[in-house]
Amino acid sequence: MKVLVVDDFSTMRRIVKNLLRDLGFTNIQEADDGSTALPMLQGGDFDFVVTDWNMPGMQGIDLLKAIRADASLSHIPVLLITAEAKKEQIVMAAQAGVNGYIVKPFTAATLKTKLDKIFARLA
């Protein structure tokens, strides 16, 4: 399974990559914001996107909307891992078609639970 991890902080990308690797995801690529991520998604056969919300350039929520609006990408599950914690934003993400929402700071166990839930639902 090919995964794209999108975050403007390289340390957070590294943490998420390590956690995903522990959970058995070995094919992981990185992007530092939505506008870098979108062409990568369009060019490669990604199966899953983990993205931050607040990034310079294109924000995670806008990346999510762009993925859902693109017929060739709209099937890809998207997990938001973000410090954004306003109820209105969580509703916004749900309406935009997010598959999971994790608030930072988060734990490895939370990530595992959400991933299991996302893939159980898709199966």
């Binding site: 902080f9 390289s10 340390t11 590294r14 943490i15 390590n18 919300w53 607040n54 924000q59 929520i61 806008d62 410090a83 954004e84 914690a85 306003k86 109820k87 209105e88 934003q89 969580i90 509703v91 916004m92 749900a94 929402y101 994790i102 608030v103 930072k104 988060f106 939370t110």
Partner: protein, 247 residues
């Protein structure tokens, strides 16, 4: 000055002016008029003087807040540098820690593999089920395992010391941030003083306002979740909210 101060001109003065003018003594008449104007002028001058002094004092006081210009031109750029230093230090620390942890993972995995490899033979030995040939092979495996474990635990120990030492940023960034907090406090005070100088009461301005948010309501980490009802406090809140939406 001999005039009665009930009015600005006395009957006596008025009569003298008329007399002087009738007798063609223009200069003498003018002199009386000047004498009449004199007290009016001095009051006016006194008033202007008072206003000038007030203006001067206000300006001087305002310049006391030249501290404000120091803040804007020196302290705040300095604070920006300090905060950038905090970003660099914390990023370095996170990377150093992850370098060490990522180096430890494969070492631990290798040891676990080696233990798993000798385990079946070992179990057979404990059950008196091992023949001599297998026993010799097990001894060699255990010999390798012991040597490797000894070497690798030392390696892990030194990597864990790296993790420990990577935490030294906390002290330095703590000091830097404390200094920036002090600066923010000082700027706040100066701005309130300035508002007061312009006659705007700080209380009136200090309404309960929420912080400015960016596009898509972006605000970053919320540090006072307990004082706000528009944010979630933890992952459970997020999950509850999402499930209430039928998620």
């Amino acid at each position: 000055m001999t005039i009665a101060m009930t009015g600005q001109i006395s009957l006596e003065q008025a009569k003298s002016v008329v007399e002087f003018l009738e007798s063609g003594q223009q200069a003498a008449a003018d002199a009386i008029i000047a004498e009449i104007q004199n007290p009016i002028n001095s009051e006016l001058f006194a008033e202007i003087g008072k206003l000038t002094r007030q203006l001067h004092d206000s300006l001087t006081n305002f310049q006391l807040d030249s501290r404000l210009s120091d803040l804007a031109t020196a302290d705040i750029p300095d604070a920006k540098e300090r905060l950038n230093y905090v970003i660099t230090m914390t990023e370095d620390a996170a990377n150093k820690t992850m370098d060490a942890v990522e180096a430890i993972f494969p070492v631990v995995d290798t040891l676990a593999e080696q233990v798993a490899a000798v385990n079946p033979s070992w179990t057979k030995l404990m059950n008196n089920d091992l023949d001599l040939k297998e026993f010799k092979s097990l001894c060699l495996d255990i010999d390798t395992l012991l040597k490797n474990t000894g070497k690798e635990t030392q390696h892990i120990h030194s990597l864990m010391t790296d993790v420990l030492m990577a935490q030294d940023f906390q002290d330095l960034t703590g000091q830097v941030i404390r200094k920036v907090i002090e600066l923010v406090r000082e700027v706040e005070e100066s701005l309130i003083n300035m508002l007061t100088a312009f006659g705007i009461s700080a209380e009136k301005v200090q309404g309960k306002t929420t912080p400015k948010v960016g596009e898509n309501l972006v605000e970053g980490p919320i540090v006072n979740t307990e004082n706000r009802d528009d944010v979630v406090e933890d992952q459970d809140d997020v999950d509850d909210l999402l499930s209430s939406l039928g998620f």
